[in-house]
């Protein structure tokens, strides 16, 4: 693919602007958060062009943002943030992505690396057995059509009511694990059929469940509020979304939006940016359907967290409470939310699209959960399976600058086939094992696609958002056990 040759104006060491004049039709400039070094790799593809294309969307306010983990997506770049005025703006399913409410949940434990290391194989096997994963994997919970309608509306609470987790989990889940406005009548029969058997499954691709060890604590006060107390402590990270259900919802509504674009006379540089006014029937229907898929994903992570706790409990012969397995937080990183933000000194209702971006609300914000009111909402940023993951918190700077948003992960740099070629038949499982990382995967070929060299270095990504001030790093953990679909 051709290198992107457009103009980037340096604002400071971590902010680069694509001026509105770059392309006729841009309503606002683009803003890319990156270091000079990262910018070089970002320019290797047409990703900045996608940042410019998003700036065409009606009602967009401020900037078309791109986080340092951006890579090429469909229509929107992955790592893109765009806020639209709900009065005259649009909502775009492409600004959310196919995997609606793909996200991350992090649990703490009171176990140390020394206690877990001798039992790691048994633990990984128990998790692999207890958490359905892989292509076409079907859930342990059998969901009827009626229950499907309930879980779409209730979100994570649906699972908690069935004994899968606790009320306390909901307190530390974005939106309490339930996005309001969900309307199952906006969901196709096809989506329901794809969703029913897959509820409570990890899936495949880049989704995973990881046992991690805390390696560095940058802010011990904030870390202790999260229950991260010391180096060597074991954490559990779950990364999954809404499976085939979300994909079908996106596919169905993209099709509707395709028609809406011409009806509303919207001019777009890319068909995948299809959208409709937020206040239109098409826009409202999509948001109501998207909320169903978001709630489905929260049910999914709620179930998986419960089975992860059960697996630990079985292997260590203690209850999950005795093992201190409390949830730290759960974030969505593919979602559109109606939020209030200060724009030019006025409080404005906007629709914030976060596609491969994480909400990063500051201390004191009404939607920051009680436990984190004084320190800011936790931001969970997983890296690839060979490197590390970060926990951060939201900041005032994010609120005033990026509509309360920050990065979501490492971001791919190599295509899946290029990643496989770079592995060139090497035994990736053994290589990771030699580095103290036990991996169990449904498919070894797909494991190669997820190798470290396929991703940006997460440390560089985090340093950019930390230095730019749109989130603040709290702790870093490395994997010791990985389950991949």
């Amino acid at each position: 693919m051709a290198r992107w040759q457009g103009q980037l104006i340096k604002i400071d060491d971590y902010r680069w602007k694509i001026p509105e004049s770059y392309k006729t039709g841009m309503r606002v400039p683009g803003l890319i958060y990156a270091s000079k070094k990262m910018l070089e790799s970002i320019r290797e593809e047409q990703t900045p062009e996608q940042v410019a294309n998003v700036a065409f969307l009606p009602g967009i306010i401020g900037y078309s943002f791109a986080m340092p983990d951006i890579h090429w997506g469909y229509g929107f770049p992955i790592g893109g943030v765009a806020a639209m005025d709900i009065k005259d703006g649009v909502v775009s399913p492409g600004g959310v992505g196919y995997d609606i409410n793909c996200g991350v949940r992090l649990l703490r434990t009171s176990l140390s690396e020394a206690e877990v290391r001798p039992k790691i194989n048994g633990l990984i096997n128990a998790l692999f057995h207890n958490v359905p994963s892989g292509l076409g994997s079907e859930g342990k919970i059998k969901v009827s059509q009626k229950e499907m309608n309930q879980l779409m509306v209730e979100g994570a609470r649906w699972a908690v009511k069935r004994g899968l987790g606790s009320e306390e989990d909901l307190d530390v889940t974005e939106e309490g694990g339930c996005l309001s406005g969900a309307d199952p009548s906006k969901i196709s029969d096809k989506a329901v059929k794809r969703g029913m058997p897959q509820a409570g499954t990890l899936g495949s691709g880049n989704h995973f469940l990881e046992i991690q060890v805390v390696k560095e604590i940058f802010d011990s006060h904030i870390a202790s509020i999260m229950g991260i107390d010391e180096i060597g402590q074991v954490l559990v990270l779950i990364h999954t979304g809404s499976r085939g259900f979300g994909h079908q919802v996106c596919t169905d509504h993209l099709r509707v939006m395709e028609g809406a674009v011409s009806n509303y006379g919207i001019r777009l540089p890319d068909r995948q940016l299809a959208c409709a006014p937020i206040e239109s029937k098409e826009g409202k229907d999509y948001l109501a359907a998207m909320a169903c898929a978001a709630n489905y994903a929260w049910v999914n992570r709620q179930c998986i967290a419960h089975w992860a706790r059960e697996s630990f409990s079985k292997v260590f012969g203690k209850s999950s409470e005795a093992l201190g397995m409390k949830q730290i937080y759960d974030v969505a990183h593919n979602i559109a939310k109606i939020e209030e933000h200060a724009v030019n000194g006025h409080n404005l209702k906007v629709c914030v699209h976060r596609k491969g971006a994480t909400r990063a609300f500051p201390a004191g914000h009404k939607d920051t959960p009680k436990r984190y009111k004084e320190v800011g909402q936790p931001v969970l940023v997983p890296g690839d399976m060979g490197r590390c993951s970060f926990v951060a918190v939201g900041t005032e700077k994010a609120m005033s600058e990026s509509f309360g948003s920050t990065c979501h992960g490492a971001g791919r740099v190599l295509s899946r086939s290029a990643a496989k070629r770079s592995i060139n038949g090497r035994d990736i499982v053994r290589e990771l094992e030699n580095r103290g990382i036990t991996v169990k995967a449904g498919s070894i070929p797909s494991l190669a696609e997820e190798a470290s060299q396929a991703y940006k270095d997460i440390t560089e990504v985090i340093d950019v958002v930390h230095q730019a001030g749109i989130s603040r790093k709290v702790a870093m953990a490395t994997p010791m056990g990985v389950i991949k679909g």
């Binding site: 997506g73 469909y74 196919y98 691709g205 395709e258 995948q272 791919r412 295509s415 899946r416 086939s417």
Partner: protein, 139 residues
């Protein structure tokens, strides 16, 4: 046609370019390309068939809808197809009979999970010798 399709690289995902002497062959080859991403086509036998009807706004989106319909049948019914008989095709409607068999984990190797055909970089062009289409899949 010398080749039915080829696979193209895309950072986060994967794409195909399908060829056909006519639009019917193009649609059939695009579907073959899709299932070649999912499994080894040679491992699939013709044990069942399914009649499908798909409609859309225009021919480009019909191609996307057609492939999404097949993805749906794989995801929900776990059917792998390796032959497509396009019976009728207008600019916005398609009728086809699809041949294949139920997915059997002992027999079929799954190469990747394809979750959706997208409109991203979608192209359907007339060429000197027929037709050519490009589709990017979300995986």
């Amino acid at each position: 046609m010398e080749k039915a399709f080829e696979i193209i690289d895309h950072t986060a995902d994967v794409g195909i370019i399908a060829y056909g002497v006519d639009v019917e062959e193009l649609f059939s080859n695009a579907a073959l390309a899709l299932f070649s991403l999912i499994t080894e086509l040679e491992s699939v036998d013709e044990k069942l068939h399914l009649d499908l009807e798909v409609s859309s706004e225009d021919r480009d989106s019909l191609l996307v809808e057609w492939l999404n319909e097949l993805i749906y049948f794989f995801d929900v019914k776990h059917i792998l197809f390796n032959r497509f008989d396009i019976e009728s095709l207008t600019h916005n409607e398609l009728k086809a009979t699809c041949y294949g068999e139920d997915f059997d984990p002992m027999k079929h190797k799954i190469k990747m999970g394809v979750k959706a055909a997208t409109y991203h970089m979608l192209r359907l062009d007339k060429t000197g010798g027929g037709y050519k289409a490009q589709i990017i899949f979300d995986i």
